[in-house]
Amino acid sequence: MATGLSLKQAHPQAILIEGLSKRYGSGDTAVDALKNVDMHVAPGEVVGLIGPSGSGKSTLLKCLGAVIEPTAGRMSIGGEAIFDSGKGGWKHDDLRALRRDRIGFIFQAPYLIPFLDATDNVALLPMLAGKSNRQARQRALELLQALDLAHRASARVSQLSGGEQQRISIARALANQPPVILADEPTAPLDGERALNVMRILRQMAQQYQTAIIVVTHDEKIIPTFRRIYHIRDGQTYEERGQG
């Protein structure tokens, strides 16, 4: 472990989790959802997080997404410590701003705002971060172009196909150039070809923007595309080399 950590310190990780634990409840009814989890993801890397229902995947994602507070451990994003249980917990007072600026999210469903067009859905995040309307829209158009969606820039959500909506949600996750993207089963509603296409796009975006992406999935079709996979069972993780 010591050698591993020193290696990680020498090459800053986009995501670094050490000894992370999360306990729900207390006393006899306490449940340990995460037990001493270690994880690291390099910039530009896409890793899979796989495990059965109730194994702790969502809890890990929620901790990493700064939505719930871990019971113990340390977490860093983009080389910056965001949580250290030994030093007072969260390092940021405004977790909402931390999520907005440092973490991108992709979900099973796109969850776009229906009354906004594709550009405004992507531009929403930079605008929330305080960028001007012109800057935010410029960034949105740049991302839409990168995702081959420039021709759909002014289309309403209802006019977009399911695949296009998912790509818009990927663009939204990248809008504030976060060092980390957490993808919660992004390919679940898609068929084989489209699921592989989404994974290809995620890999391309990770390389292009040097963003680390953790993909939580049950999807057998995309598991072979990962080079590294974290398996999680009963709150404990172990790493496996993938075929991708």
Binding site: S53, K57, S58, L61, K62, G65, V67, I68, R96, A97, R99, R100, D101, F105, F107, A109, Y111, I113, L124, L125, L128, A129, R172, L182, D184
Partner: protein, 231 residues
């Protein structure tokens, strides 16, 4: 003009008004004459002219509803009214008192009735808009959780719900105002609405919609962003 009850109203001289109220139609006059002539008490062979006198008495009208008096310059209307009231069978009202009767009693009563309807309608509208916005918000709980998760501020989310509510109110106001303007002539009575009333109505609708969105905004702000992650 329109009366306090919403009926059309015109002002005419007292003589014309009495004629309109008491003048009998030709058939009634002919019937009455025939009945009187058939009565042996009025049509006595030995008393010529009695029947004509009775019929003339029946045709004349001595009813008086009111007399409009214009006071000579320099006389106090209230003092004159006091003098007239000394005859117990007469009642006198000054212009100020007549205006008070018309405005404070007839029009004010009608205005209170309309006001009561307005309050009831406002409460019912607020409840309906509130229910619609609340239901629409509950249908978007996951989207709201996602917005919170990706960093949207509470005021951004509240603003979106408020916009939705105000939009609903605006559509309702335009439809209602258009319908009232287009359909009013087909109703027997109408309420006179001036531009100022329309403007006040618009702001009242916006206020109602703002208040109606409060419950939905409270529900949205209680959403935990953690619900966006996982099943």
């Amino acid at each position: 003009m329109v009366s306090s009850g919403g009926d059309p109203m015109i002002f005419i001289p007292l003589k014309d008004a009495q004629e309109a109220q008491f003048l009998k139609d030709n058939d009634t006059i002919l019937n009455e004459r025939a009945r009187t002539a058939a009565n042996p008490a009025f049509n006595r062979p030995g008393v010529p002219g009695l029947l004509d006198a009775v019929i003339a008495g029946q045709s004349a009208n001595h009813n008086v509803n009111a007399v409009l008096v214009q006071v000579a310059q320099g006389r106090d209307p209230e003092q004159l009214a006091q003098e007239i009231r000394r005859w117990k069978r007469l009642q006198a009202y000054t212009r100020v008192q007549m205006e008070e009767i018309l405005v404070a009693k007839l029009i004010a009563t009608a205005a209170k009735q309309i006001g009561l309807f307005l309050v009831i309608l406002a409460v019912v509208s607020a409840a309906i808009v509130s229910f619609i916005i609340y239901t629409m918000t509950l249908g978007k709980i996951r989207e709201i959780a996602v917005l919170k998760l990706i960093g949207a501020r509470d005021r951004t989310i509240a603003g979106m719900i408020l916009q939705e509510s105000l939009g609903l109110g605006l559509v309702g106001f335009i439809v209602g105002k258009s319908a009232a303007t287009l359909w009013a002539p087909y109703f027997p009575k109408f309420v006179l609405l001036e531009s100022g009333d329309t403007l006040r109505g618009f702001f009242a609708v916006m206020l109602i919609c703002t208040l109606a969105s409060v419950v939905a905004i409270r529900a949205a702000l209680r959403v935990d962003p953690a619900t966006a992650i996982g099943g």
